[in-house]
Amino acid sequence: MEQMIRQVLADYGRLPVDAMTLDVDADLYRCGLTSHASVNVMLALEDAFDVEFPQELLRKKTFESIFAIEQALSGLVTSDRVSSV
């Protein structure tokens, strides 16, 4: 999952730093993630993981680090599996 998140950030995050080597806890906004780019990252994550971010996760905090994104996604991926059984 982490690798896919990094790939999405590299493709859509428009970060001036390398998303592949970034610390999982690094503050993405301090690294240059704009709110415009974060929307694209979110859309790409929804596509890559075949999930939909619910309203309550549409916050700046959700995308603040690779770790935070991973946390949010793991909640979504499992609950999606449960509902599709």
Partner: protein, 384 residues
């Protein structure tokens, strides 16, 4: 506050005594409405939005919005200065919870009724306020900032300016902080004049801004959060109320004109009366929406966290675009109703100043930018 009715009565009286009589001269000479701001200061209205536990008036945003609209009925420049000051106060009190900044609010904003201005726009960046090129240089407990600001409203008359900048020299353009630049640790060198179509009394010259002060002046919340939770919503709400004030004035003028026509021929409804009815159908929804978004802001302070939500951001953006477009439409309709008497500058029904001020609305953070921003959010926002 001393109750809403008390507040609006006080502001109404102050507006008639100081604001209205100066309005034409402020506009003609593009001069700062100093008597109006002094009157607001002596009524302790510059600190009205500061919470009561810090000594301020403890007003809600909707109370302040009502004051802005009342001022806007008489002089849009005065209303805009007051609104922009309150936007800065809101940022300080909601995002400056350090001992240093709290003392500043208590001693200077409340104690000294300090007037605060804003430098977000930067030369070379255009109107993209979420991006800076200048950077804070900090070290040894102090900071230095140099910013080329193409527009700082009432900069010369302000006691402090809140400026955006990159967090440090290595930060990307979007990683911004908000810095309190206080006199006397602030110098402003004018680089451009302010000879504009409207809002002439805001005296929004361009300046080279230099500040050198203790680093406690840097607000700790990232500007991204301050912008999203406070600066954008409060700006859109208070600006919309400046424009509402302009619309109020245009509607009053049109009504007075139609009444005068009706008195000339009792029994026959004047032809313009139907245009007045149409005007009301545009004006009343505008007023309702502006007041509603202000109430939503006040409610969300206590209830659920709507402030950082996309839904609320879209609501505020939509208010800004709608209000800034409607104010021009409304003054135009009033012009049609008043005819030649509205077109004349020397008549009691003159609408020229209102029309010129109304046209500033779409530029203050360009509507195209706001629409592009909402369009982006709408790609992901779920329906509320």
């Amino acid at each position: 506050m001393r109750g809403d009715a008390g507040l609006s009565d006080r502001v109404h009286a102050l507006a008639l005594e100081y604001v209205a009589p100066a309005a034409d001269e402020v506009d003609r000479d593009a001069r700062f409405p100093k008597e109006s701001i002094e009157a607001l200061r002596s009524e302790r209205l510059l600190s009205a939005l500061v919470p009561a536990n810090l000594g301020g008036g403890g007003a809600r945003l909707s109370d302040i919005a009502a004051v802005v609209a009342e001022l806007g009925r008489h002089c849009a420049s005065t209303a805009m200065v007051f609104a922009m000051h309150q936007i800065q106060v809101a940022c300080l009190v909601r995002h400056g919870d350090t001992a240093f900044l709290t003392d500043y609010v208590r001693e200077e904003v409340v104690g000294g009724e300090a007037l605060l201005a804003s430098a977000t726009t930067e030369v070379g960046i255009g109107g993209d306020v979420r991006s800076s090129s200048c950077a804070v240089e900090a070290g040894g407990g102090r900071f230095r900032l140099h910013k080329q600001a193409p527009v700082i409203s009432y900069g010369q008359f302000a006691d402090a300016i809140l400026a955006t900048a990159r967090r440090c020299e290595t930060s990307p353009p979007s990683d911004q902080v908000l810095v309190l630049c206080r006199r006397p640790h602030l110098s402003l060198e004018p680089i451009s004049d302010w000879d504009t179509f409207g809002f002439r009394g805001t005296c929004s010259l361009g300046f080279e801004l230099d500040a050198d002060d203790v680093d406690d002046c840097i607000l700790s919340d990232p500007y991204a959060d301050i912008s999203e939770r406070t600066m954008l919503p409060v700006s859109h709400i208070l600006w919309a109320h400046v424009w509402l004030g302009i619309a109020d004035a245009a509607v009053s003028t049109a009504r007075a004109h139609v009444r005068r026509e009706a008195r000339k021929k009792p029994g026959a409804t004047p032809p313009a009366a139907v245009h007045l009815a149409e005007l009301m159908a545009v004006y009343l929804p505008f007023r309702a929406v502006a007041e509603q978004v202000a109430r939503h802001f006040d409610e969300s302070e206590h209830g659920t966290d709507t402030l950082g939500s996309l839904a609320f951001a879209i609501e505020c953006n939509s208010l800004k675009v709608a209000a800034s477009t409607l104010v021009v439409d409304i003054v135009g309709r009033a012009m049609r109703i008043c005819g030649m008497t509205g077109y004349r500058e020397d008549s009691e029904f003159a609408l020229g100043r209102l029309l010129r001020d109304a046209h500033g609305a779409t530029l203050m953070v360009n509507n195209d930018r706001i629409l592009a921003n909402s369009a982006q959010m709408l790609l992901v926002a779920k329906e509320a």
